[in-house]
């Protein structure tokens, strides 16, 4: 390619990069300004004196509806929700994937097809029955109920990840182990699991992002003691009746985004693989 064309190419790529970075810059700079500075300056102006007051307020004292204790409670709720939900859905996915790729039986293909369609179901059709059922079992608005919903809705995805990965493990390996007398569990623990690290990372990261970012289930199936960070952020940003404090809102948005951004920066490679694995079905 000729030199002028390459300059155009880089110009377009850099402009695109600025477009993607703009909201992050605006969130960060706004969160470090005082409200006076926000009114005096504009979106792109740098903060004059850096102030962490908005961050402190977003974390500890900002009002989300009638409560005025910031996002910290919501944040820890999300942590308490995401850890068991991710671990359980991933463990089930690994077992299912192992069965569906290496121990197929009559009807297992049908089971797989049913799971696969589960990936595409708009969760709106589950909301009303789920709310009723959780109510019957006394789990409505509890952390346990929320974890349960995430596990049920996560199984399809995690199973698909592991199944597609395990299909790539040669059947001869399994056969040889069986001739040596190894059984179902022994093969899983000794041969399959040690090879699973890459797909395990993909699934853990993917599930973490999905569940941390969920809003719908958090909104419908939780209240007060169990609401996740996305619900807290939405309450803070959208239901305050007084003057909007954009610096606090932006600090709150960044607090809600930090864990997934951290994961993305530290393990972006696995995140991208999760995308592709999730996109290429079947």
């Amino acid at each position: 390619m000729s030199r002028p064309w390459r300059s155009v190419l880089y110009a377009v790529l850099i402009i695109a990069a600025l477009y993607y970075l703009l909201p992050l810059y605006v969130m960060l700079s706004t969160s470090l300004k005082t409200m006076d500075e926000i009114r005096a300056g504009n979106l792109l102006s740098l903060p004059g004196a850096i102030s962490f007051d908005a961050w402190r307020k977003a974390w500890g004292t900002a009002c989300t509806g009638i409560e005025c204790s910031g996002l910290s409670g919501y944040f820890w709720n999300s942590v308490r929700m995401v850890i068991p939900a991710v671990l359980i859905s991933t463990a089930l996915g690994a077992l299912n994937g192992y069965v569906l790729s290496k121990w197929r039986f009559r009807g297992s293909e049908l089971a797989f097809a049913m799971l696969l369609f589960g990936l595409y179901i708009p969760f709106q059709v589950l909301l009303l029955p789920m709310a009723q059922t959780l109510g019957w079992f006394g789990l409505a608005r509890s952390m346990f109920g929320l974890v349960f919903v995430h596990v049920v809705c996560g199984i399809a995805g995690t199973t698909l990840f592991f199944r597609n990965f395990y299909v790539g493990i040669p059947d001869e390996l399994i056969k040889a182990a069986r001739l040596d007398g190894a059984g179902f569990w022994r093969i899983f623990v000794r041969i399959v699991l040690p090879m699973s690290l890459p797909i395990l990372m993909v699934t853990l990261i993917w599930q973490f992002t999905q569940i941390w970012n969920d809003f719908l289930f958090g909104l419908v199936f939780s209240s007060g003691e169990s609401q996740p960070i996305t619900v807290g952020l939405n309450n803070l940003a959208n239901t305050s009746t007084s003057v909007k404090e954009y610096n606090v809102n932006m600090a709150a948005a960044l607090i809600a985004a930090l864990p997934t951004i951290a994961v993305y920066v530290l393990a972006g490679k696995y995140f991208v693989r999760g995308l592709s694995a999730g996109a290429v079905k079947g």
Partner: protein
Amino acid sequence: MSAISRPAHYGFAEHWLPRLVLAPSFLLVLVFLYGFIAWNGALSFTASRLLPNYEWVGLAQYEALFASERWWVAVHNLFIFGVLFIGGAMVVGIVLAILLDQKVRAEGTLRTIYLYPLALSFIVTGTAWGWMLNPGLGLEKLMHDWGYAGFSFDWLVNPDRSIYTIVIAGIWQSSGFVMALFLAGLRGIDDSIIKAAQIDGAGLPRIYWRIVLPAMRPVFFSTLMILTHIAIKSFDLVMALTGGGPGFSSDLPATFMYQMAFTRGQMGLGAASAMMMLLTVSAIVVPYLYSELRRSRHV
């Protein structure tokens, strides 16, 4: 289609174990996905309002749904949002993927920047864009400071324009995802085909248009499926950015369903709208999954 031939000592435990291991997940999915779909379907034929009530009313809820102006606004919005969001994210993503494929320096950094919005929740995305697009302090003030005194940008609070702000934020969030999938696809294409075409004197645009992009059809279809799925179930972004407003001008079916079922005590109507969403998704996804599963069986 058993992948493993059965050795002589194929025992009772080995025969039942796989079924037993799969059973809990299968039961969960059977009851909580498929069972609940049926239950929701049943609710949509009842007079349920604030509480479920199993008085059968036939298609009355669907008739009410189709007579509701608000529902048609939501459907109309989904159409506008769907076409612009899917089209926009596709075009931006494919163009960026092709440009990044030109042996660019700092490709890794650029890719990371394009893709990070996908790690953020729609609630964060909506909050950030809500601040930037807000009339008064956001983009409008920036343009005024830059000397464009007459610039006005009130889409967020303009009932005729509010749905487009959701398109803007949606494309920002998801186009990097299209870029990542297409870039992976482009890397899978054999370089020698491109070299051969170049020797035949074909220019780069022509090579991409005639050879490379047609070879990416599977990537194109799976991306389309996922974006369509995101569009139909879009809920968070609307709630965070406009809350469905002004009025109900930026409602989508997903927000309509939530409002009816959980805040306005119209459970039957909400259930009916959820069924319509399911039918729409199924009409698109079932043929796709069917062909995918058939294909993987033949490979």
